[in-house]
Symmetry: C2
Subunit: 488 residues, 2 copies
């Protein structure tokens, strides 16, 4: 089965697609750029979503739901926002079909043209701030801490499953605050929530930082990001949190009476994380045998394979182990298929990235042991049946930690510090990864570097040290190093 996957060294992009398809995570649909998220892929997304949702609620947020449609005129109200989002989007112009007078099938009814076109939301700031105008009257209505789980559409020209699709699923938080300080604090807090989620649950180390002006969200005053490094040395932006200043409050006239009974504009943040994270998860851990998923997000954490096939004696032991594991909250399955050989099943569960596989054969049982195989290192060991549930519980933690440490080691090995443009190009070409270098702070230089090398500024790290230096391209003075990389 693993034969069917292209290796990373051979063709990284094809390897990614092979995994997404062979592990049955997602596939292209009949609609250009839109994917079908298959049950196994969706189960992983559900685990991600549920964990994020818990973290949002623990930090005081509530969920709500706003319309799919945005009136065209709303998009124009915030000048930068319209530049960023009004360009490639799905436009609803009519509300009725009719039987084709010239034949079979249906055609758009020309008499059902909308007075104002509706845009499928590419992001919801505009419709939400238009609503907040009625909800916010006084400082007592603030802060407003609302999140939405939704589908959004951006008409991307080149799409890749999970990483860039015309329709994708995400959450978008939209908060409103009485002061600038509080809004900035919220923005940074949510960047922290994303980083914690990425590191603790996805086992994916991230760099926290702020975007350069050029890479900012359209309409934001500052964009905070978490950036991860994939196994091909390219960076992936993994979640962004925006301080929107008073831009949307101005555009939609959202004011409140402060404690002194004076009218002020409201301060805003927005933050989003999408099904793109599925792509990050896949690319951070998987190998040439297929998907590797951290135990905390795996739909099935342990699979039991009766060897050579199910029989009453083995099944009884398997059921007992299942009960013990379930009592610990571990997600476990028995592979009861009678027709497939163990070797085939092993390859299948490897492909799906199940973190732990237990093999139970008659001879093992006679010896009071089972075979335990871990997906991450592919190590196998014989473990006593007695206490097997405790062993597995510990093993799942080990695997989670090992995946994180392995990814962290990879990132550390692929983070370089350079001082000249030649060095910069050399590292980018031969090694990839993050490159820490001085930049003169201008968009012009940033774009020139991108044009010459395809590398972009991923972020100015939150914990960057102030250090006098010279821009690698222009030689102009620089106050700190920033992180460059080629990116998805």
């Amino acid at each position: 089965m693993s034969k069917e996957i292209t290796s990373r060294s051979e063709d990284y992009a094809q390897w990614y697609i092979d995994i997404v398809k062979k592990a049955k995570l997602a596939e292209n649909s009949a609609v250009r750029g839109c994917m079908v998220i298959r049950p196994y892929g969706f189960a992983i997304w559900e685990n991600m979503r549920d964990q994020l949702d818990r973290m949002f609620k623990e930090t005081g947020h509530v969920n709500a739901y706003f319309p799919l449609f945005i009136p065209k005129s709303f998009l124009s109200k915030e000048a930068e926002h319209v530049e960023g989002f009004a360009k490639e989007c799905a436009v609803v112009t009519h509300h009725r079909l009719m039987n084709d007078p010239n034949g079979s099938g249906v055609v758009v009814d020309p008499s059902a043209k909308l007075e104002e076109e509706l845009i499928i939301r590419p992001t919801s700031e505009t419709i939400i701030w238009n609503t907040y105008r009625d909800w916010i009257k006084s400082y007592r209505d603030l802060p407003l801490l609302i999140n939405q789980w939704a589908n959004v559409v951006r008409w991307e020209m080149r799409t890749r499953l999970f990483l860039r699709t015309a329709e994708f699923l995400w959450q978008e938080g939209h908060t409103a605050h009485a002061t600038k300080e509080e809004a900035i604090e919220e923005t940074i807090k949510m960047q922290g929530v994303y980083a914690q989620f990425a590191e603790e649950y996805m086992a994916m180390p991230v760099v926290k930082g702020v975007k350069s002006a050029n890479e900012r969200f359209a309409g934001a005053e500052e964009t905070y990001t978490i950036e991860a490094l994939m196994q091909d040395g390219k960076a992936l932006q993994s979640g962004t949190s925006h301080f929107l200043g008073q831009n949307f409050a101005k555009a939609f006239d959202v004011k409140f009476l402060n404690k002194e009974n004076k009218e002020e504009l409201v301060w805003a943040t927005s933050w989003g994380l999408s099904t793109r994270m599925m792509g990050a998860l896949i690319m951070t851990h998987s190998d040439d045998q297929g998907l590797v998923i951290p135990p905390k997000l795996a739909p099935v954490q342990v699979v039991i394979v009766p060897i050579p096939k199910p029989n009453p004696e083995i099944n009884e032991v398997a059921e007992k182990i299942v009960a013990e594991l379930k009592a610990k909250g571990i997600r476990v399955d028995i592979d009861m298929d009678e027709k497939k050989r163990p070797g085939f099943k092993f390859a299948e569960h490897e492909m799906r990235g199940v973190p732990v596989r237990l093999g139970i054969g008659k001879r093992d049982l006679a010896n009071g042991v089972v075979e335990v195989a871990r997906r991450d290192t592919k190590e196998k060991s014989s473990q006593p049946l007695e206490g097997i549930a405790d062993h597995i519980e510990g093993l799942l933690d080990d695997i989670q930690n090992n995946l994180y440490n392995k990814a962290l080691k990879y990132r550390e090995e692929h983070t370089s510090s350079v001082d000249t443009f030649d060095e910069f190009k050399e590292v980018l070409e031969n090694k990839g990864g993050f490159i820490s270098a001085h930049w003169d702070g201008t968009t012009e230089t940033e774009l020139k570097i991108k044009e010459l090398t395809k590398a972009t500024i991923r972020c100015i790290p939150n914990d960057v040290e102030m250090e006098e230096g010279k821009c690698i391209l222009t030689g102009n003075p620089s106050k700190c190093r920033v992180l460059f990389a080629k990116a998805y």
Copy 2:
């Protein structure tokens, strides 16, 4: 506060809208027919969704996600389906906006016209069965038991919050089976899941039955329904489960090799339940003081109000009660607002339908008691602090049961059996509710009755008794009574 609500007797429709708005459940948006579901309303929907999702998973279903867009040509592939769904829908015709050459703002870019228009899914049978064609090859791929939580759009002309909106949230199950028998079994099983959910969680009694041919889902061979009765004597269709025969398999060429290695068409079901259920929940239990929600679905089950306002001594007791209730899994809040008077808070929590309110005053504490008020009957009692958590746990069960029994009693009192058309009209006019009557089985008669009285056949109950009779309208022979009502 309750003064702001119109009473049911005065204007039932306005009473409903008042509750939806004053309890902050939902509101109309800037987009015609689309609602904003506010955080409190969404929290109730989340509880409904999470419980249904558990029930779907317990019955072997998994979630997946299919595209928002349906190519126009897909809708035409199933003849009846297109008649039912292609008429009022949102049509995407373009994929780009551009700056208006004649002024400010943006306009549709005429050069970005789609080759084939895309319809926002009104329901997903077509795109899903087009996908199933690739997933189903052999009997070993069946059954396929998939559910999707999604937003859908039907361009309704007259909309009402939750009950009928252009965009709504729902789940749609789409299953594929090797045999007709198994598909019918699935259809009935899911009708049962809906009924169990309605009765056990929503505390809303329902009649299970099948729809007449005229009221069937477009493309179904049989539609199973659950029908509830609202407080104004009108019925509300609350969840439908469709046996689709091989219609979609034919339309999308979905075939499988059976055990004898012969090709057969696949059998299908689909079943859906939507945010419309929020409307049903509100109308089944609420009263002239506001929302009433059954404890199992209430975002906040118990609210503690310090009297006259928070102080350290009272707060300490309140925190202790909160800890005890949380330990029992009860959702509880303390109202710590210092500025509102108790009377105002009481009215507010009544409006929001919080099932149990605890008042804690200094005098109560001195006596070792708290005041317990239940939302459903508005009874108040003094209860010893000792064992208060156990008392409340029992009380929440009592309230859940009481709401169900009250609704059941209402329905029983408003279910009439009539034998003549005069009687039929008289009951419909003066009493409302379900009317059990003979019908000759023809669509013609059904439509005539609807035209004359606005009543429709809600269903032929699953447990109907065969009984010779005469149609109330035509006098033609009838084999059983069916259930009529005016409906939402």
